[in-house]
Symmetry: C2
Subunit: 223 residues, 2 copies
DNA sequence: CAAAGATTCAATTAACCTCTTGAATAAAGT
DNA sequence: ACTTTATTCAAGAGGTTAATTGAATCTTTG
């Protein structure tokens, strides 16, 4: 069959992309890049990799077409080539979640309260935002907030929470979000707020999923 | 941060699933299993792997939670654990298609007529099926047809096409489908039918995507 | 043009994956 | 119980990938 050779070549390309995803460090890098573009140095610092090692992983991701880099002065800034990649990571997550028992085990061990915090869906949040019924809190670090966030969101990383409690409305529902489903920042914020008597919920997923879904975002300092 | 350890463990699990997808042979196996469950021997035959090798790849897929096997007499029958896996493969395909230039090259080389054949969407086909405006042709091998197919579809692999032309309506549109976007069977059928004056189109994607979308399917020999 | 900073390249070693081969199970038929 | 058939296990050669180190490249700044 003449279909065998080109099919084989295509599958080989798919497999190469899958192999690029087949390393925890590279998934970590991709997750960070799903938040915002970054330089090699920043990425190395955030992931705990040496610079040379981060650079090599990034190049591997680039060879597979998942990220692209541009030079900007002394630095090279990397970003995802495509928001479809967020969908791919989400799909990978769902399959791993459903199928791999070990993931459940870790989740149950660490995110014990996971189910108690009843996350709010994107659709639901959007509706409540339109009705002005909700205060949206971004629990990520400042620089990620600056690079893009949900419209009207307040930047409030866990460390600043205690001294900025009075900025928050006591009579209105609060929804917090962060990087994505395995980011703990919004869990921390919600737990803390609830402990202090606020009505707080988590957004399901995080900023990259929101953006990838084509929902509106806002930039505080348009670079 | 206490979030680093469990996060690392989770990413490692995701990476393990991605690594399981990182081999053309395993993707080939998964594509076959997306059609229907099969024994090790069948899978080895269809992919051209030795039996021992196919067995090892299948076990790797099983360890990652992507397939499961059950003993049935002398044979072990493998199948996908979950239709979400079809979505993951689709997502992988879309990313690879958009990003990897080499894939485009192969596609243009082999599926030259790809664009000329204007595929019909699932939604569109469903509408035309309801209105009774269309004859649906399944271009896959007989056994895959028997394991499940679109409602009312006629099994018509390319080899049987010439001697069964008179079964087809000359005055009605024909839509052919096969295994998925990189399966050539439906291309062959459509090209042949058009050459003989029929009005024929391809369905976008194939049977596994149809089934995974929750659309109705039919079994000819309920096993 | 020299110096410093950011990133990449090159070379090394260790770890891992792939395919093959032949032996070991497991179930069914004789 | 023995043979056959289908699958899995175990071991080894060959190749690929990962992390580390130090040198090389490219860009801005003095």
């Amino acid at each position: 069959m003449s279909s065998q050779n080109p099919k084989r070549a295509i599958l080989e390309q798919f497999a190469a992309v899958a192999r690029a995803l087949g390393s925890a460090h590279r998934l970590d890098l991709l997750e960070l890049l799903a938040q915002t573009e970054r330089s090699v140095e920043e990425l190395a610092g955030l992931t705990g990799l040496t610079i040379a090692n981060a650079s090599q992983h990034l190049q591997q991701l680039r060879r597979s077409g998942l990220v692209e880099g541009r030079r900007e002065g002394k630095r090279v800034i990397y970003r995802l080539t495509d928001s479809e990649i967020v969908a791919l990571l989400g799909s990978l997550r769902r399959v791993a979640e459903r199928n791999v028992a070990a993931v459940e085990k870790v989740l149950n061990g660490y995110f014990r309260q996971r189910d108690k915090l009843e996350p709010v869906s994107r659709k639901e949040l959007l509706r409540r935002m339109r009705d002005g019924l909700v205060t949206v809190v971004d629990a990520r670090p400042l620089d990620e907030f600056a690079a893009g966030h949900l419209p009207g969101a307040i930047s409030l990383p866990p460390r600043q929470l205690k001294r900025r409690l009075r900025e928050l409305p006591a009579d209105q529902e609060i929804v917090a979000y962060c990087r994505g489903p395995y980011c703990v920042l919004s869990y921390e914020v919600v737990a803390e707020l609830r402990a202090r008597g606020f009505t707080a919920f988590r957004l399901e997923d995080g900023y990259p999923e929101w953006k990838a879904a084509g929902l509106p975002v806002e930039n505080s300092s348009p670079a």
